[in-house]
């Protein structure tokens, strides 16, 4: 049996088809687009919550979707160690569902920010980063209004190695200038203790093909290939 991934479609999602495209046509893995009310985990080796504006971002980005039946199904996958990935709005959903620690506030500028940023890899043991090296600097775009990471206990996250990605300069320095949204500790992506659930604000699905990248990079592929590698290792 081949590997099969699910991408969950919430009302207001808008990166769902981009994510499907990359998994199907760039990574060449079987993938289904599944409406959130119909999602059943048993058929899938991994799940991705894509970017967008689920339920119009009413109340807070991700909070309404966090109560969807799809999240109950994803929780089963989370518990048995299958990869559960959230990109952008999907990342906010994971935080609101308490799959990953912390929360995402409105950007410090209060503006929607859409631009390419540099991302430094801090932990390469996770289900979404195992094809990278610690210290690698990757080029990815962000596109969000609520991406300012906040937590009460950053020390605990550091001690548990739960910070996966940070915004950095091209040289990998963690400066304020390189931090697009005011995130605590320049945090761009975090994981759960078991490292099978990762949420990140930047968009790997928009950075997986040379034609979409201003510098001709395709760093986004590393994320999806990491997910596949994680699934293969789990099976063996």
């Amino acid at each position: 049996m081949g590997i099969k991934i699910a991408v969950i479609q919430f009302p207001g999602a808008n990166c769902d088809l981009d994510t499907i495209h990359v998994i199907k046509n760039v990574i060449h893995i079987d993938v289904d687009l599944v409406w959130h009310n119909y999602f059943k985990e048993s058929k899938y080796d991994g799940v991705i919550l894509p970017g967008g504006f689920s339920f119009g971002d009413y109340l807070r980005g991700g909070i309404i979707a966090a109560h969807s039946p799809a999240i109950d199904e994803a929780k089963i996958m989370l518990k048995d160690g299958r990869p559960v990935i959230g990109i952008c709005n999907g990342c906010q959903i994971l935080a609101e569902a308490q799959f990953i620690p912390g929360a995402f506030l409105h950007n410090e500028s209060l503006k929607f920010i859409c631009k390419w940023v540099n991302l430094k890899v801090e932990n390469n043991n996770t289900a979404f980063s195992n094809k990278m090296n610690v210290g690698d600097v990757l080029a990815l775009p962000i596109a969000h209004a609520e991406g300012r990471y906040f937590t009460d206990n950053i020390k605990e996250l550091e001690d548990n190695n739960q910070i996966v990605f940070r915004y950095s300069t091209k040289q990998g320095e963690l400066t304020d200038d390189a931090n697009p949204n005011g995130s605590l500790g320049n945090i761009a992506g975090i994981c759960n203790l078991e490292q099978n659930c990762i949420g990140l604000m930047p968009h790997p699905e928009r950075a997986s093909e040379k034609i979409l990248s201003p510098k001709g990079t395709e760093h986004g592929k590393l994320f999806f290939n990491s997910m596949i590698e994680f699934i293969k290792k789990r099976a063996s």
Binding site: I63, G102, H106
Partner: protein, 90 residues
């Protein structure tokens, strides 16, 4: 016992530790520039108003506190909530 309708008003604000750019901007770019230097701090928040059918005021308040917590209407990681006012619908 017949149920009565109560109004429960809730205000949700970010914790002090989390910066509030809306409040900061109002203070820095409006109040300070227009002569309201006596205003030392502004914090923004979110207002919610619940019409609740219940036996009494205390019960109406408990229902709202319960739903705020259980459904994470406020995010305890970053926010606090306060019940502003509780009154009978007239």
């Amino acid at each position: 016992m017949a149920l009565q309708e109560f109004i429960v008003e809730v205000i949700i604000t970010n914790k002090e530790k989390a910066r509030d750019p809306t409040g900061e901007t109002i203070k820095r770019d409006l109040l300070a520039k227009k002569g309201y230097k006596m205003v030392s701090n502004v914090r923004s928040g979110q207002y919610l108003r619940f019409n609740v059918n219940s036996e009494n005021e205390e019960r109406a308040k408990n229902i709202v506190e319960d739903l705020l917590n259980k459904l994470r209407i406020f995010n305890p990681v970053t926010q606090n909530f306060k019940i502003l006012k509780l009154q009978k619908e007239s």
